[in-house]
């Protein structure tokens, strides 16, 4: 082991004692910074991923649209089915309707889905709170939980639906009869935008309500892996002629998605300052050490140490603190996230706020998603910053001339 590494280690872990106070305090600083950064990032990833999951699930990963009503969807469906990674394809139609239940009106967004395909594009089963997807037919409807609550409907209720097409009839003074539908079940995605104003009907019913005959508004695709969305859309666009084009769920939700990214970036940036503050405390402690040890530095020079090696003692201390602090920080973050339910339970039990927590946040277990880049970037940042923190004192140490240092009585 080079002597300067040996001395750096010895100053952090002196003989006879386990560890120096400076080492403990500095390592804790870095550990806290790294741990908090990773915990916040992972929880934000978790929530972000849930939102992305819902956006992707409820929207279809890729859609083909043609600037209006498509009367012949089967060539598009066939084309899409040829592409690698596509799991299911089906036409859809969507739009607004007016709905009444016991004289309470609502103006929900209706999605007409093809129930005859092997699998639905949107995995409703996952979100159904009551009812079975098989019950969806031309006389029934699924309501979002928020929507159902606002009009006081529940499974088994009958709702009246008025479509825009009926306005045409109204103009011609025809008798206006609403379509009566039975609520087959309630779904809840947890994404309020959708739950509060969406209802699901069969594609055929939607075609009837909107007078589309056999037409649809587009074709929706579900992929095996939603991360392939851009690739698949590009492949489709290469084959499609205008006005047809394929868009991904990423395009359609870009505003929401960029807010998610921005949120995480800003949060991480703010928390980075914990690591920076830790680095400043390392730098100031090491600088004090250089001043305190001026004569020993002189002695090392007198014994034949080169100034760059003497400087390395201090630089290495910063680096070692960075390494140990980051590792502990990663470990601490993983541990805290693993036991997050227990931790939250303990806190809410102590503050008597468990019910409130569940009512407001609708969870007991915050979602967590680990991303390798977060870990790599955070650890790299902590390492670089704490090494830099050692570099400044090291520079002062290197500038000391042994004779001057030794005279410094």
């Amino acid at each position: 082991m080079p002597w300067y590494l040996y001395l750096a280690l010895k100053q952090l872990f002196p003989s006879g004692r386990l560890v120096s106070l400076f080492c403990v305090v500095s390592v804790i600083g870095v550990t806290l910074g790294v741990a908090v950064l990773l915990i916040v990032q992972s929880v934000m990833n978790g929530f972000g991923k849930e939102i992305r999951d819902k956006l992707a699930d409820t929207d279809g990963h890729v859609r083909i649209q043609g600037g209006g009503i498509l009367y012949q969807t089967w060539p598009l469906v066939e084309m899409a089915e040829q592409i690698d990674g596509v799991e299911a394809v089906s036409p859809y139609a969507e739009g607004m309707v007016m709905m009444m239940h016991r004289n309470i009106p609502a103006f929900p967004f209706v999605r007409g889905v093809d129930v005859f395909g092997d699998e639905p594009i949107v995995p409703f089963d996952k979100y159904l709170r009551s009812g079975k997807f098989e019950d969806l037919d031309d006389e029934t409807v699924f309501l979002g939980a928020g929507l159902a609550a606002s009009i006081g409907a529940y499974a088994g209720s009958t709702v009246e639906v008025y479509s825009p097409l009926m306005l045409e009839k109204l103009k011609k003074d025809e008798v206006l009869l609403p379509r009566e539908l039975t609520v087959a079940g309630i779904f809840e995605t947890g994404y309020n935008e959708i739950d509060a104003n969406t209802m699901i009907v069969t594609l055929r019913l939607m075609q009837e309500l909107y007078g589309l005959n056999d037409g649809a508004h587009g074709v929706a695709l579900r992929l095996k892996n939603r991360d392939d969305a851009v690739k698949v859309a590009n492949q489709l666009n290469a084959q499609l002629q205008p006005p047809y084009s394929a868009t991904t769920w990423l395009d359609r939700n870009s505003a929401m998605l960029s807010v998610l990214v921005l949120e995480k970036t800003v949060m991480s940036f703010i928390i980075l300052f914990i690591v920076l503050v830790a680095a400043f405390s390392i730098a100031s402690s090491l600088y004090t050490a250089v001043v305190r040890k001026t004569r020993e530095i002189g002695l090392l020079g007198a014994m034949g140490a080169r100034s760059r090696h003497t400087a390395a003692i201090f630089c290495l201390q910063g680096m070692i603190i960075g390494v140990v602090g980051s590792l502990l920080g990663v470990g601490f973050a993983l541990l805290a996230l693993h036991y997050r339910v227990n931790i939250i339970d303990a806190i809410t039990a102590a503050t008597d706020s468990r019910d409130m927590m569940i009512r407001f946040y609708k969870f007991r277990e915050p979602p967590v998603h680990y991303e390798a880049t977060d870990f790599v970037l955070t650890v790299a940042f902590a390492l670089v910053v704490s090494t830099l923190a050692g570099l400044i004192p090291a520079w002062f140490a290197a500038r000391l001339k042994p004779a001057d240092a030794l005279r410094n009585e």
Partner: protein, 237 residues
């Protein structure tokens, strides 16, 4: 230039720029120390003894003059070369002991071997032997803070001798110790330098210690004056 001179200088000059006036601390110092020879240097406070030792070890550079280690001119060499050479060529002992507080006695001694890249079983054994010779065989794992002043200086002495240097430069090694302890440490010091056949350049204020070296020099007006050798002292009696 004599062949067995471990240390030789020619016309060393050092001028410090002071706030009021420039001080010529060294004004042409010629010194020659032969292998195994012990030389003492006395002089008034501020005469320039410490400055001379720093220049002899090239921790400080003279304004003029030459320094030879084992007959080799060293001032024109690179600082790295001199640093590397210093690890094995010379040992330094100072008035303050400058032990590294995070290392125990044995580890402090072994720092000399680490710096020279010579840490091995042999040097470990030699470090223990040296500490035993200075009477610290029971204190190998004591931290500097747990040692008395005299004990610390003995550790510093063992450290200076570890790499079997040809020369030891000592700047008032007993200056911080009381008379009795100082005499004790000086006894050990002189005895071990003689045993190891190391040339010694000893700066001291104490005439009694100076009297025990083979050659005695006095620094005055920036130059060294020979005030006698053992033969001379004998003759004076």
């Amino acid at each position: 230039m004599s062949n067995d001179a471990v240390l030789q200088t020619a016309g060393l000059t050092k001028i410090f720029k002071g706030p009021d006036a420039d001080i010529e601390v060294l004004a042409g110092v010629d010194l020659c120390v032969r292998a195994g020879e012990s030389v003492s240097i006395r002089g008034e406070s501020g005469a320039g003894k410490t400055t001379l030792l720093y220049i002899l070890s090239t921790l400080e550079l003279p304004d003029a003059g030459e320094v030879f280690w084992n007959g080799e001119s060293v001032l024109k060499k690179s600082a790295d070369w001199r640093a590397a050479r210093r690890t094995t060529f010379m040992g330094l002992v100072f008035q303050s002991y400058y032990l590294i507080p995070e290392l125990n006695a044995l580890e402090n001694v072994l720092m000399a071997a680490r710096l020279a890249g010579r840490l091995n079983g042999e040097t470990r054994q030699r470090a223990k032997d040296l500490l035993a010779q200075v009477g610290l065989s029971e204190r190998l794992r004591h931290m500097p803070g747990q040692l008395s002043g005299g004990e610390r200086q003995r550790v510093a002495l063992a450290r200076a001798l570890l790499n079997k240097p040809a020369l030891v430069l000592a700047d008032e090694p007993t200056g911080n110790l009381d008379e009795h302890t100082g005499a004790e440490v000086m006894d050990i010091f002189l005895k071990m330098c003689a045993e190891e056949q190391v040339a010694l350049c000893l700066v001291t204020h104490n005439p009694a210690f100076a009297a025990r070296t083979a050659r005695r020099l006095f620094m005055r007006g920036g130059v060294l004056e020979e005030i006698g050798s053992h033969e001379g002292t004998e003759a004076q009696r």
